[in-house]
Each structure stands twice: as C-alpha cells, then as structure tokens.
C-alpha cells in the first residue's frame, strides 16, 4: 500500500499494516482531524474514528488492527483532545471494554487511558471508572469461567487493569483518593451472582496488595468487611442449620434433627432462598483467607492486621451476633500468633477495660459493645489452638483483676441489669477456664494468679447465679475436679437452660449466650479454620477420664494433638467438630444429667437469635 493510496482512502491512514506510513504521520492525521473538529468544521476522518471505536467485532482482524493504530495515534494526541469538542470520541473511548478485545488492542487502549488520566484532571475520574468497571466481568465471562480461553482472557484483562491503575497512581499521586470511593460505589450489590462479587473482591484485595493499598488498604478492608457482614446478616441461623442437616454435615440439633430430618422439602426450600448467599459468603471468606495468607507469606500481615482490626471494630464487633465474618480475625491470628494473635486479644481486652475512649456507637450502646468485646475475647482465648497457655493465663489474670476490683468497690446485691459488664467478665473467665483449666492448673504460677477468682464468685453479686448455667456447671465441675478451690456441693443452680437472671444480664440482645468463635458453619471456610481450632471434643477437662464411664476417643484428643493424624474417618471428625457445645459427650454419670446436658448445644449455639426466642 503506497502513500498515494493512503491519501485517497482515509481509512487506510491509520492502518497498522501500512509500514510506509510512519507513526508520526498517523498522529499528525489524527491531530488534524481533532483540530478541525475543534474549529467547528465537520471532519469525515473524525467521524470514521468514532465509528471505529464504537465497532465491536472481535473476529475481524483488519478492524482490530485499525482500532489498534487509531488508539495508538490517539495516545500521541491526547493533548489535542478537548473535553467539550470531542465528546463523541471520548465517550466512545470510555465506553470501550477490554473484555471485548485482543491483547494488543488492550495494550493500546490501556496506554491511551493512562495518557488521558495523567494529562488532564478532567479525564481522571472517567478513566478510573472505566478501569474499575472491568472488575465486574460481562455475563459471557461469568457463564464460561471454567473455559481455559476465558480464564486466559480474564488474566489478560485484569492484569492490565491493575497495571494501569498503578501507573496512573504513580503519575497522579492523588488518584487513589479518588479511586477508593469509586471502588465502594461500584461494589456489586448483595443480590448479584456470587461469582461477580467474588471476582470483584479478589480484585479489591489485589489492589490492597499493591502500592494503592498502602494509602487505601484500610478503606478496602472496610469495604470487604462490610460486604461480609451484610451477607452474614442476610443469612438466618435457621438457613445454615437446615441446609446442613440435609447434607448430614451439621447435626448439632441432636434431638431436633432426628425428627426434622425427613422434612426435606422445607430444607431444600431454604437452600434455594438463601443457599446462594451462604455459598457466596463462604467463597468470599475463602478469598479473604487466601489474601491474608499471601500477606503473611510476604511478611506484611502485621501491617495489614491493624487495618483489618479497624474494619472488624467498625463492622463486626458492634454487629449483633455476627455468624461467620469474625473468623477472618481468627484466621489472621492463627497465621501469626506471636504478633497478630497477641494483638487481637489485647485489643479486645482494652476495649472491654476502657470506658473513656471514643468508640463507634452506631448500632449498639457502649455497654453492649464492651460485652461483645469480652464475649469475643473469651471465645477467642478458648478456641485458639495456637495461643500459648501463658498468654491465656495473662489475659485471664487481667480479667480476674478487673472483676476483683469491681467487687471491691461494689456493695450491691444481685442486679443483673446494673452490673452487666461484671457478669459478662465473670462468664468470660469461666468460659475460658472450661476449655483451658487443665493446662492452666498444671502451672503453679498460673494457678496462683487465679486465687482472687474465688472471692469474686463468692461475692454478694453472685455471678454463679447469674451467668449461663451450662457454663457455670461445667466450670464448677472442672474447678472441683482440678481443685481450683473448694466448691460447695450444696451450691444449687437452676436446672434450666437459661436462668431468668442470665437472661437479664444479657439484655434484650442476649449477649450472655454469644460465643462468637463457636465452630464455623461454612464448609470451605471451616477447612481453613479447623486446623487451629479447639473443638470441645478435643478439650481434656480436669475431671479425669476415669470419671467418665464410657469415654469416647474424641474426648482424648489433646489440645495440641493433631486430630487429622488420628485414624478416624472424616465422618467421625465432622461429628466431633459440629458439636458446637461446651459439653463433652458421653461423659455424664447419670442419664438424667446426661439428658439435660445433651440439650446444651441448642443453648450455647448461637441459634438463640431473636427468631428463636
């Protein structure tokens, strides 16, 4: 193709196959066309440019080459583009999607977008919006995500989008501050397909991993955490339980499951209505776990943890009985027990102990926030397999000291509503001791630190009467067997699942029955958690196995033992895992007591949500 031909056929002016025509000449032509439009003249070439940009035909190679050349020429002429006069071509460019093009066209388009964003502040927002729109793939991609071709295309597109965002933020340092609100705005709605949300969140976390994350990482975690919480709240406890009892995975409702097991239609209906959300949440959790793990591998978990905790404090801690989202913290702690693990406990304790710091007060009153914090702390100390006994003992000591101080200053009788914090502190101590008593009592120093506990429990406020009876019963049993202090046999507590008093101190929100880190109910997420999790079946209580007539193998698993190495089949393990109770199975002396305690799972498990009350 010669230069003369090029002059007669305008479309060949930007034909990439034309080697006779140099790049600069093409740029010159484009600039002339742009200039003539700016001067108010109609330009044939310009119209053709707009047309080329708007054509969306993946299969036509010639068109692709034309488009490529045009985009390259436009990047060289960005200075000549005017926001008012060249609206058509600009809206054409911003309407383009990388998903529709071949890699070489993508490259040219991305270069053009970067030039536009960096050259004038007027285009910055449009460019950023155009780029992050790619985080939501078009339907044809979503439907064919299993195809290699599509996976490859996804890789091509997203790597370029991330590259472009980074380059823009390098050239325009304030770009991240504009980008973050857009990211929050474009986050797919909660009812979108789970794939869409998962891909979007994957991208968010990838951004967090980049230099943009250093500025906006906190906000990114807030977005992710908020979405997790929203999904979490969308799911009823009943949905999970029903869903899982169908699969025979989670048969915690020992007595109920038997009767309801054959009512399959109800379960499947539930699965249909919210099954998508459960899966979505599960996938999102796993995505976040993967991200945390990669952070840990790159040695930046410590730094990420601060942001993660802030988002936890903002969205999860003050959320009424969140079900799954909190395991993000648990997982982060399990990855780095020495730093994050220790920090998490201390921060929760600080929240519980402090009352003068300004706190987020959006949804709950401060006292329930503090109670929630101590519930998290208790559950965390009890369940974290990775936490050393010395750490648990130190935290317990601080709790015990706090409660002892409270007793010293308080001269009141049992009034659960008035001393909520005290009772929740006591319950936390007892709950942790149910799991850890044996290992703590083994060390004389830790044992001596618990001495004030006796006076607390004997105080007029009488926490033993008020706290959750199942916790108290298990605690007293272990305390007696372990010789923590003399437990009077005459101490009687209500033979009820929950006493009136405990209901009162929990407030209308029933925070007395909230144990956030009860076993995770989502299948995939749980597989990440379970290795570092203390199930009740793994706890070795202080009362000796000789006491138990028919001791089960499960109960023999020691805290530090590796349950996977045990030669149990998966079914057995699942059975053990899914007892969300603090109650040991098959270890009761008489049938009556056994029957009563077998019911406890229903009480301790978080299904004591308002629906069930």
């Amino acid at each position: 193709m010669g230069a003369s031909e090029a002059l007669t056929d305008p479309s060949s002016l930007y034909n990439v196959g034309n080697n006779d025509l140099s790049d600069t000449e093409t740029v010159l032509n484009v600039r002339n066309a742009l200039a003539s439009v700016q001067n108010g003249e109609s330009d044939l070439l310009y119209d053709q440019f707009v047309e080329t940009i708007q054509i969306n035909n993946r299969s036509d190679h010639a068109l692709g080459a034309q488009l490529d050349a045009l985009l390259k020429a436009l990047s060289g002429s960005v200075a000549c583009i005017d926001v008012n006069h060249h609206r058509r071509i600009l809206s054409g460019i911003f309407g383009m999607s990388l998903w529709d093009h071949k890699p070489h066209v993508m490259d040219s388009l991305v270069d053009l977008i970067i030039s536009l964003a960096a050259t004038s502040g007027k285009y910055l927002d449009n460019c950023l919006n155009m780029l992050i729109r790619h985080f939501v793939p078009p339907p044809w991609v979503i439907d064919r995500l299993w195809q290699n071709r599509v996976i490859e295309q996804k890789q091509h597109v997203l790597s370029r989008v991330h590259g472009a965002l980074l380059k823009i933020s390098l050239l325009v340092p304030l770009a991240p501050s504009r980008l973050l609100p857009m990211l929050a705005h474009q986050l797919p709605k909660i009812n979108k397909k789970d794939q869409v949300v998962v891909i979007y969140v994957e991208n968010l976390l990838k951004l967090e991993n980049s230099s943009i994350g250093q500025v906006g990482g906190g906000m990114i975690f807030m977005m992710v955490m908020e979405r997790l919480r929203d999904l979490d709240l969308e799911i009823d406890w009943d949905d999970i339980l029903q869903d899982d009892s169908n699969r025979g995975m989670f048969d915690m409702e020992l007595e109920d499951a038997m009767n309801e097991g054959d009512e399959l239609p109800v379960g499947s209906l539930n699965q249909d209505t919210s099954g998508g959300k459960i899966e979505s949440l599960d996938k999102l959790m796993v995505t976040c776990f993967d991200h945390l793990e990669s952070c840990n591998l790159h040695g930046r978990l410590d730094q990420v943890f601060e942001k993660l905790f802030d988002s936890f404090e903002n969205f999860i801690l003050n959320t009424y009985k969140s079900k799954v989202s909190q395991f993000l913290m648990f997982y982060a702690c399990s990855l780095d027990p020495e730093n994050c693990g220790v920090k998490f406990g201390s921060k929760l304790l600080d929240i519980f102990l402090s009352s003068n710091k300004p706190r987020p007060t959006r949804q709950v009153s401060l006292s329930s926030l503090w109670m929630s914090a101590v519930a998290y702390l208790a559950s965390y100390l009890a369940r974290g397999k990775f936490l050393p006994v010395s750490y648990v003992a130190t935290m317990l000591k601080r709790l015990v000291d706090e409660c002892a101080d409270y007793c010293r200053t308080c001269n009141d009788d049992i009034r659960p509503e008035a001393h909520q914090l005290f009772y929740s502190g006591c319950q936390a101590i007892m709950y942790v001791l149910c799991f850890r008593m044996r290992s703590i009592l083994d060390v004389p120093r830790f044992r001596s630190e618990l001495i004030p506990l006796e006076s607390i429990l004997m105080h007029k406020l009488n926490p033993l009467m008020v706290c959750l009876p199942s916790v108290v019963a298990e605690f007293l049993r272990q305390a007696k067997a372990g010789g923590l202090f003399v437990v009077s046999d005459s101490f009687i507590f209500e033979d009820l699942l929950e006493s009136e008093l405990s209901r009162a101190f929990g407030g209308c929100e029933r925070l007395d029955t909230f144990f956030p880190f009860d076993p995770c109910l989502l299948k995939s997420s749980n597989s990440n958690i379970s290795g570092n999790f203390i199930y009740w079946s793994m706890v070795r209580p202080t009362y000796d196995k000789d006491d138990d007539e028919e001791d089960d193998d499960d109960a023999e698993i020691i805290v530090n033992g590796d349950e996977e190495s045990d030669e149990e089949d998966e079914g057995d393990l699942d059975y053990a895992l899914n007892k969300m109770s603090i109650t040991p199975k098959h270890s009761f002396k008489n049938n009556m007591e056994r029957e009563r305690l077998m019911k406890m799972p229903s009480m301790i498990r978080p299904s004591t949500s308002p629906e069930s009350l």
Binding site: T119, G121, L171, P173
Partner: protein, 197 residues
C-alpha cells in the same frame, strides 16, 4: 518555587461534645480533614498547619448536638500555583508527547509537546526517554530530573497542573541554577554597581 504561601488565620473550629476530652487533638483532627484539599476560603490547598488556642472560652452551638466552637489562631501553609508562576517538580515519566512531573509529591503536572519549546528534542539515550536541548547539549530532561515549569492552569479538584516549558527560564533546575550562577559570576561587577546605585 512559587505558589507556596504562609498565612495566618483566625479560625472557629466546631467540635463535637464527645471530643471535649482532648480538645487539641479534636482541633487537629478537624483541620487535618482539610489537608490536601483546595479550599476557596483559604484560596489554596492546605499543606500544613500549626494551631494555638487563644482563649479558653468556647461558643456553644444551639441545636441537637451542642457542638462548641473554639477560637484558634493558625498559621497555614498553602499551595496555590497561579497561572504564569514557576513551580518545580520531579519528572516521573517522559514520552515523545508529554513530560509528567510531580510537584511537592502530591500534585501531578504535565507538559505536552505543544508546550515544550522547540529547543528540546525527544531522544532515546541508553534506553531512557529524554528531552535534550539542541542549543545546550548538557541541558537534559529525563526521569528523576527536577524540572522548573511555568503553570498554565491548575485544576483545583484533582490538583492537576498543566505546565509549559516555553519560557526560557524553565527546564532542569540544576542546569538553570548553574547557568544563573555563571551569569552572576560574569556580571559581578555590573551587579555590584547596580547594588550601590
């Protein structure tokens, strides 16, 4: 470097009653929220501030939340590059059509080829993009160079500067200063005479 100015301002900062425990922190927090944003009242982008609380009294705002207004005296460092002023920044990218500069670490500035004077020619040197002056071979602009440019316009919303290298007193800061030093050296007598006069 022009476009920077130091101003004293008397401000009335309204603080939420919950923040009354640590007033100074609350004041700083309020003012920090203005950082790196263009403010018409200040007529510039706030870069730094220093506050002193003058009086102990505070005005309580009537309303649902009894916010209280604290009078403070603040000295503010503002950035407002007016057209035709000279600013300096570091070159972060060079392409045949544009030079991308970051001024003061936060404001993006760009000089497009239309605004680069004829003297500068785009070259590829050792795999590096650069602009070299055709009249002074040592006057080179490449990534990392501190560039002095003239402001054409300033987009306050995104802090974007459109710059120009058309005037002769723009270009590599180091080179320009060396030049002026040499000129100073040569004109010293002349300069002295002018001073006496």
């Amino acid at each position: 470097m022009e476009g920077l100015k130091l101003t004293n301002a008397e401000l009335l900062v309204y603080i939420h009653p919950s923040k009354s425990g640590n007033k100074l922190k609350a004041i700083c927090r309020e003012l920090s929220s203005l950082l790196f944003q263009y403010d018409e009242i200040f007529d510039g982008v706030l870069l730094a501030f220093d506050v002193t609380v003058k009086s102990k009294g505070a005005k309580i705002l009537a309303g649902l939340n009894p916010y209280f207004g604290v009078k403070v005296e603040a000295s503010l460092l503002l950035f407002n590059p007016k057209p035709n002023s000279l600013v300096e920044g570091k070159i972060v990218k060079i392409s045949p059509e544009t030079i991308h500069v970051i001024v003061l670490g936060f404001s993006a500035a760009v000089v497009t080829d239309i605004d680069i004077r004829e003297e500068f020619k785009y070259r590829m040197r050792n795999g590096e993009d650069c602009f070299v002056s055709s009249s002074h071979k040592r006057h080179v602009l490449k990534v990392g160079t501190m560039l002095r440019l003239q402001v054409e316009s300033f987009d306050e919303e995104v802090m974007h500067i459109a710059g120009s290298l058309l005037p002769a007193n723009t270009g590599c800061v180091k080179w320009l200063e060396k030049q002026s030093e040499e000129a100073l050296h040569m004109d010293r007598d002349d300069h002295k005479r002018r001073k006496i006069a």
